[in-house]
Subunit: 235 residues, 2 copies
DNA sequence: AGCCCGAAGATATGATCAAATTCCGCACTG
DNA sequence: CAGTGCGGAATTTGATCATATCTTCGGGCT
């Protein structure tokens, strides 16, 4: 058997309730999720279980579970013959996704706007400022992170957890493509409607908030479509 | 590394390629999915891994993966302390779900209507006939199955796989509650808008098809809400 | 009532089996 | 003689299971 006894000395948990570490499969899921969401994985890239077991230092069962969840999320794709990869969005995919994103995210924005506490407005302004800073600095990762946070925080305050979760899933599908867009256009040329949205939010203009978010979604997706078109020409 | 190299004799499998059985975790997923979709599991019912490993005769790894997928689908719920159960829909849940269902399913119906081959119409008529038969016979399981098939076949022909998949997920959330509704009202009092929808489909009335499906969804959800209200009173 | 202990169940690992892709050498053809 | 395609072994990776450890829950004892 194994001669080396495994280091069990960390087994002594302090008597205080130290937030009970989340299970490994959850940690793996969150890590992979972040990697996909922020474009650390390219569309089409292959994902192997064994590769992740040692890059993340986890056993295969937790990695397996995380991958299944991400496939169900649409963040990864099962390629028939038991291979897994990061999906490449087709024009049809984008067309369907934009429909749902517009509907759901606009609704979430309206709901958040309907009872937005002042602290929420302040937090969003803070995030948007950091976003502008990242754009000015040409910091692609920072841009992707803050842009995500802006929407995510807004939706988390819409009192509609199911819709918010659906929106998060949709963002997961766009993550890899968004990174490609940034690589192509740089951060300078990525307009958003956050300022308009914040103005409407301060004014209590619920419909205006929804409209601004809808246009924001549109603009983001337009960039993806533009890059797709370029790719199609060069192929 | 392991110093003992195992011989690794290659046992050549018989050449009979008999339809390549799907992996166990997929089979388990499909079975559980069907059980939830057709109301064989009650809302609130606890689900244990070990219970499934022997009721389905599978190992725990495949069962685990199937459960994670279903949790991600919203068909099961992770109860914080490592327990898993069939979710109970709250009034807020239903309110959010109805919004998405109306939007997505109406859109799917319109897309299917836009290029519906005659065979599709025939197939839907066939299914609707079987549905009526199940209603007349008071066959709850048959009703749930055929009602699901009616929508599922329609959406599968909408040339929008991503939207169709989202619709399937939404149906999974309603499955357990629908069974409860049938138990409460019987099959006799479950009106649908399938006849109107088929008429519009035959007439090529795209908007009419969308409207009929929207009303069909509404009616189904109204029943769920009604039962919820009853429960709330009795609690 | 509070505490301890045992049982049931969940999490995680590593081993083992199976499949698929890759790679390499060989023969065949132009 | 060189290039090309084919077949099979070797390697890589996925799938499944058996097992060990840890958590949580509930019952019984003080």
């Amino acid at each position: 058997m194994n001669l080396i006894k495994k280091p069990a000395e960390n087994a002594r948990k302090p008597a205080a309730k130290t937030a009970a570490a989340p299970p490994v499969h959850e940690q793996v899921y969150q890590k992979l999720r972040a990697q996909i969401l922020f474009g650390e994985m390219a569309p089409g890239q292959a994902v192997t279980i064994q590769g992740l077991t040692d890059s993340l230092g986890a056993g295969m069962t937790p990695v397996r579970e995380a991958i299944r969840r991400l496939i169900s999320d649409g963040a990864l794709m099962f390629q028939g013959n038991r291979r897994v990869s990061v999906p490449v969005l087709s024009a049809e995919d984008v067309e369907q996704l934009i429909f749902v994103r517009r509907t759901i995210e606009a609704e979430l924005a309206r709901r958040a706007a309907r009872h937005a506490p002042p602290e929420l407005v302040a937090e969003l302004e803070q995030i948007d400022a950091e976003l502008d800073f990242a754009i000015a600095a040409g910091d692609v990762s920072g841009y992707l992170l803050q842009n995500y946070r802006f929407h995510s925080v807004l939706y988390a305050n819409s009192q509609a957890p199911i819709l918010a979760e659906m929106a998060e899933r949709l963002w997961l599908r766009f993550g890899p493509s968004l990174r490609v867009v940034c690589g192509r256009f740089g951060t300078q040329n990525l307009p958003d409607r956050h300022k308009e949205m914040l103005a409407a939010l301060r004014a209590g203009d619920v419909e205006g908030v929804g409209l601004a978010i809808e246009q924001d979604v549109d603009q983001g997706v337009q960039m993806v479509i533009a890059v797709q078109a370029e790719r199609a020409v060069s192929s």
